[in-house]
């Protein structure tokens, strides 16, 4: 048994990682404490639904609603909901379990620390993608539902489907990028919230920073992927206009490289992590 384990460590790591991911997803998604994340994700869908029910029959334009949806994605989801949702989900994985004094159970399992960290990251990412990806899909469906056949035609035969896929891709990448950073923050800081606020500020001023520093940003990469431009004026243009636009594949690759670098450093920290609950 032991020999086969040593001969095939990847197989064992994969099995352990899958099982840990399943356990963590259960804890992430099926808990009362996750309620606020669901609310954060579903709030726009609720508003669109209210609009759909109570403003039925009032004239509206599909291009306007498409722009509103793009605004919801750029301003609400990317800058607020996914950002703070990921802060909540990924901070719980390490710091939250330190505060609850239950992290040691994982550290006492026959599990490489790197496998533990990556499985937790996978669980956090899948949880965030399920919640926010699902919410974006729901927003999209509700937004065009009121247009009947024209809406269906826009989605299935027009640019709608491409826009939906772009929004889902942005959601996935945002969850990965912010998730990795918040996971690292939760290992570096007793309270990751101040660091998260600094990151929020950094993301805001990122477009006016030198080109090299613009690469150290999640939203910076994602701005290039938005399919519908949002006509933001003044200071809000900082949030929407890509300062140095890059092709989509470069934006995806850049964000993935950033995520991998952050995770590599987090793995290094994880190897030396100690349990000091009394100082929490």
């Amino acid at each position: 048994m032991s020999e086969s384990r040593q001969a095939m460590p990847w197989r064992m790591w994969w099995l352990q990682g899958r099982r840990l991911t399943a356990i963590e997803i259960r804890r992430n998604l099926f808990s009362w404490k996750a309620g606020w994340v669901y609310f954060l994700a579903m709030a726009p869908a609720l508003l669109i639904l209210v609009h759909l029910v109570f403003n039925r029959g009032q004239p509206s334009r599909m291009d306007e609603d498409t722009e509103i949806l793009a605004g919801i994605m750029q301003f609400y989801y990317l800058r607020l909901a996914i950002f703070f949702g990921c802060l909540g989900i990924f901070s719980r994985l390490i710091r939250g379990e330190m505060i609850e004094r239950s992290l040691h159970f994982y550290l006492l399992a026959p599990l490489r620390r790197e496998v533990l960290l990556l499985a937790k990251f996978a669980a956090g990412s899948l949880s965030a993608v399920l919640v926010f990806g699902g919410a974006v899909l729901l927003d999209f469906v509700l937004m065009y539902l009121g247009y009947g056949a024209a809406g269906r035609d826009y989605v299935l035969h027009g640019p709608g489907l491409e826009q939906l896929l772009a929004y889902e891709l942005i959601t996935v990448l945002a969850c990965l990028g912010y998730g990795s950073i918040f996971l690292l923050f939760s290992m570096l800081f007793r309270n990751p919230a101040p660091a998260a606020m600094l990151l929020l500020g950094w993301e805001f001023i990122n477009p006016v920073l030198p080109l090299l520093l613009q690469k150290i940003s999640v939203a910076g990469y994602l701005r290039s992927l938005f399919p519908v431009p949002v006509a933001a004026k003044g200071i809000f243009a900082l949030l929407t206009v890509p300062a140095a636009p890059v092709p989509g594949w470069q934006a995806c690759l850049g964000l993935l490289v950033l995520t991998i670098l952050v995770l590599l450093y987090a793995c290094r920290r994880m190897r030396n992590l100690e349990i000091h609950y009394t100082s929490e």
Partner: protein, 322 residues
């Protein structure tokens, strides 16, 4: 040849090689060198003495600032192999949120990468061993302190480790559960498991242990079996209970001969505890008193050849090193 013998010897022992641990400027443990052979070993010391730090070092929850720790030849820094052989029941009284006792054990075993049917069997076996079968499917949040202690113990033994580290395992248990736990530890010890137990309930671990390690203020005070440790403190005052017809007169005689530093009358009035700094001279003087007929002695017995008394000698009632 000699080197390989040394390696083989250390491969069945828990070895602390000049280990120190500092939390910033606060001392956890200092310069600990120990070799713990298989069997049941108790770790005794007052609160804050470094017992938990020593156990956390043993299991990799904290890393030594200096020195090296190995457990049956395995390093705690390599958890993938280490925790297949080692189980640790910590004293942290907290659990993942919302899980039942059975889910807690099952989740823990799943991470060992064993088959699901084996996981179910081992889970049930562990629950049965700690007598938690009926409460297993209830949420841990609703458990009493004793039940939480039991479920932690079940989690630590579920994968059949060779080494079991137990931090205050008898805390919070009622007398019945305590007796059951002690019986379980004895059974595990008989099965050849390597047990390291810390506890404040000295009279109980005393009966269990093959060896005792005394620690205070982060320093190792003594180690060995009870008698060996007693040898180490020959120069310390020793207490003897003497049953006799005239205890007060005996005490006066022993004091006047300079062989006694403290006396305490037994509750029933027919015996006296005498503390001496030189046991050989003490017995000579006592024999002389008996031969002269000054007192009629019924029995003489060392009153403190147990962990508690040795602990008091070495550490002092305040917990400060003597």
């Amino acid at each position: 040849m000699s080197e390989s013998r040394e390696v083989n010897k250390s491969s069945d022992q828990i070895v602390f090689d000049n280990v120190s641990k500092f939390y910033g400027e606060v001392l956890g443990v200092n310069n600990i060198s120990l070799s713990i052979p298989p069997g049941i070993t108790t770790l005794v010391g007052p609160n804050g003495s470094g017992k938990t730090t020593l156990m956390n070092l043993m299991t990799g929850l904290v890393r030594p600032t200096r020195g090296r720790v190995s457990v049956i030849g395995l390093s705690p820094a390599a958890p993938a192999e280490f925790f297949r052989q080692v189980g640790y029941c910590t004293q942290f009284d907290s659990f993942p949120r919302g899980v039942s006792g059975r889910e807690f054990i099952r989740d823990s075993l799943m991470l060992h990468g064993i088959g699901r049917s084996d996981v179910e069997c081992l889970t049930q076996e562990a629950l049965d061993r700690v007598h938690l079968g009926e409460a297993a499917d209830r949420k841990i949040a609703g458990y009493s302190k004793g039940m939480r202690q039991k479920i932690r113990l079940a989690q630590a033994i579920a994968h059949h480790p060779s080494v079991l580290v137990l931090d205050e395992p008898l805390n919070g248990l009622d007398p019945m559960a305590r007796a059951e736990s002690i019986a379980l530890f004895e059974e595990l010890g008989r099965q050849g498991m390597h047990l390291v137990i810390s506890s404040h309930i000295l009279d109980e671990v005393d009966r269990l242990a093959d060896r005792v390690i005394l620690i205070t203020g982060g320093y190792l005070v003594a180690e060995g079996n009870i008698q060996q440790v007693r040898q180490e403190v020959r120069d310390k005052p020793m207490q003897v209970l003497i049953r006799c017809d005239r205890p007060q007169e005996l005490a006066a005689r022993m004091f006047s001969g300079g062989q006694c530093v403290e006396a305490r009358l037994h509750l029933d009035g027919s015996g006296i505890y005498l503390r001496t700094g030189n046991i050989d001279h003490f017995y000579n003087t006592l024999n002389q008193a008996a031969v002269e007929g000054a007192v009629r002695i019924h029995s003489v017995a060392p009153a403190d050849d147990d962990t508690d008394a040795i602990y008091q000698y070495l550490i002092g009632p305040e917990g400060g090193a003597s």
